[in-house]
Amino acid sequence: MKNAEPLLNDEELSDDLFEIVGRRAEDSEKINRPPLSAFKDSWMRLKKNKGAVISLIVLTVILLLAIFGPYMNGYKYYETDYSAAYQPPGAEHWLGTDKFGRDQWTRVWEGTRISLYIAVLAAFLDLLIGVTYGAISAMLGGKVDNAMQRVIEILVGIPNLIIIILLIMLMKPGIFTITIAMVITGWVNMARLVRAQIFKLKEQEFVLAARSLGSGNKRLILHHLIPNVMGLIVINMMFTIPSAIFTEAFLSFIGLGLQEPLASLGVLINDGFKGMRNHFYLLLYPAIVIVGIMVSFNILADGLRDALDPKMRK
């Protein structure tokens, strides 16, 4: 093609034939799609996970039922009616009644409230105590870190259940005692994880940069380090929640948690277990609800881990 005759020679190709279009900066730099924050990115990945979406729906339904369920029929969870004891599920009592004639539907959702309260509490403690403790321990380092780690070592060395049982014996069994027990034991795991992660992060250059721009410890932790540990925090929180729900139900089941006439899923399952030979429905429905909650939280936690931290995906 080298010797092919050009259509126009140089003289004919004068500059005025051309018009400078130029690079329009605003066009080439234009972002055609809305910006994707880290949160939205994870949300998109989570939405692709069928199991996680279903779990989210199940949990929403359970949450709504826990909020409105106890008001949906005229009964109160402590209201006894001895003439209507051991009614099988039917139009009057949707899930039947227990040995005192209390409406099981109301009691199941009342119990679910307790489980969800425990879930919120566990998440809150993880964030408030666990993250703060871990972050402070890692940032201050040295002697402070050493002392703080000794405390954690002792707490880890004692089985959680032992601490909880001893505490419950000291105080009245009940929701308040379980709350206190969780305040003592519930945040340790989170504190350790956050500390380890921040230890890794605080040597990185963006921290040095922030420091040389004059950020103090507080600003560093809140604005630079915590956002970087956020994924880990959410994931760990999602695994703490089901185990906290389990602990409460477990304690109530062996009679160390909530006491009658209060209803918790553990109490209801224990009642149902005692009468399951003839009244299986008393065991079945609370069991279905707690399994639903536990399975949903666990699948959602798995989904969140994949969504927030694709490296860990398997």
Binding site: E153, I154, G157, I158, P159, N160, L161, I162, I165, L166, M169, L170, P242, F246, A249, F250, F253, I254, G255, L256, G266, I269, G272, F273, M276, R277, F280, L283, A287, I290, V291, M294, V295, F297, N298, I299, D302, K314
Partner: protein, 311 residues
């Protein structure tokens, strides 16, 4: 290594001391007494003092504390308040058999089934095998052990009448509690094995093993499983904890005369000395198991060095 061991043992002793002290003072604070209050008040002052003296309850608190600690070092935990005439150490010793049997069987069953399921799931990745194994794993982790135990007892024990319910007579009595206890072990191990296997199967040495013409069995057994199972140590801790927790409730449900049901019963009747003894027993078992697990890290996989061991 020796230095590490030394510090760990010191640490364990401190932990146990703290637990012993905390337990002692907590018990002293407790409302309610192990004695029948009504019958006690019908006794004369002198008789009551005698009664207290028998259990050392008449001495000032610090003396009771020192006595308690010295006895503890000698391995004596005092007499049970509830089971008359039995000392706590003997009581624990007499109850430990069934618990140990259940724990051992649950671990054995859990590991065998879990590993087999995990391997199948990994080799049949993204098939129905894989999905159903993962379903078992999720259910096993999520379903509370007491719910599973109750359902097992209802369907297998009551409806089908296959196995004895809530009696501890023959070996068949141990089948259902073992199943109930092993569910979470199966779930944890199956999931873990699958994930590790999937990783190992992509390694170059697996290709080498196949390329040099080894049979499928040898590839799996000699190369894949061994490497996949090394990190299983990391989940031994949670497994031990869930077995300890599980024993409390499952022994109660199935009427197993083990230490788990002893613990729950003694709490219900305010049997202070037994509670103290069992608390210490559980704690000691827990911390020692954790020590053994940590030591195993270094032995099984030389690539993992215990922190502190390098100094």
């Amino acid at each position: 290594m020796k230095k590490y061991l030394f510090f760990r043992v010191i640490n364990i002793l401190i932990t146990l001391y703290i637990i012993a002290t905390a337990t002692f003072f907590l018990m002293k604070q407790l409302p309610g007494s192990p004695f029948d209050e009504e019958r006690l008040s019908s006794l004369s002052e002198e008789q009551r003092m005698e009664f207290y003296a028998k259990y050392g309850l008449d001495k000032p608190l610090h003396e009771q504390y020192i006595l308690y600690l010295t006895n503890l070092v000698r391995g004596e935990m005092g007499d049970s308040f509830y089971f008359k005439g039995q000392d706590v150490s003997g009581l624990i010793a007499s109850r430990i058999g069934p618990s140990a049997l259940l724990g051992f069987q649950a671990v054995l069953l859990g590991f065998t089934v879990g590993i087999v399921l995990g391997i199948i799931a990994a080799f049949k990745h993204n098939t129905m095998w894989d999905f159903s194994t993962m379903l078992v794993a999720v259910l096993g982790v999520s379903v509370p052990n007491f719910v599973f135990a109750a359902l097992l007892q209802y369907y297998v024990g009551l409806k089908m009448g296959l196995l004895p319910v809530a009696f501890w007579e023959s070996y068949s009595s141990s089948i259902m509690p073992t199943l109930a206890l092993s569910l979470i072990v199966i779930a944890l191990i199956a999931r873990f094995t699958r994930n590790e296997m999937l990783e190992v199967l992509q390694q170059d040495y697996m290709l080498t093993a196949r390329a040099k013409g080894l049979s499928q069995f040898k590839v799996i057994y000699k190369h894949a499983i061994r490497n996949a199972l090394i990190p299983v140590i990391t989940i031994l801790g949670p497994i031990v904890v869930s077995l300890l927790t599980g024993s409390l409730v499952i022994e109660n449900i199935f009427g197993v005369p083990g230490i788990g049901s002893l613990f729950v019963d003694s709490i219900k009747v305010n049997d202070y000395t037994t509670i103290m003894g069992l608390t210490l027993f559980y704690s000691a078992f827990f911390v020692l198991t954790m020590l053994v697990i940590d030591l195993m890290y270094g032995v099984i996989d030389p690539r993992i060095r215990i922190s502190g061991a390098k100094e």
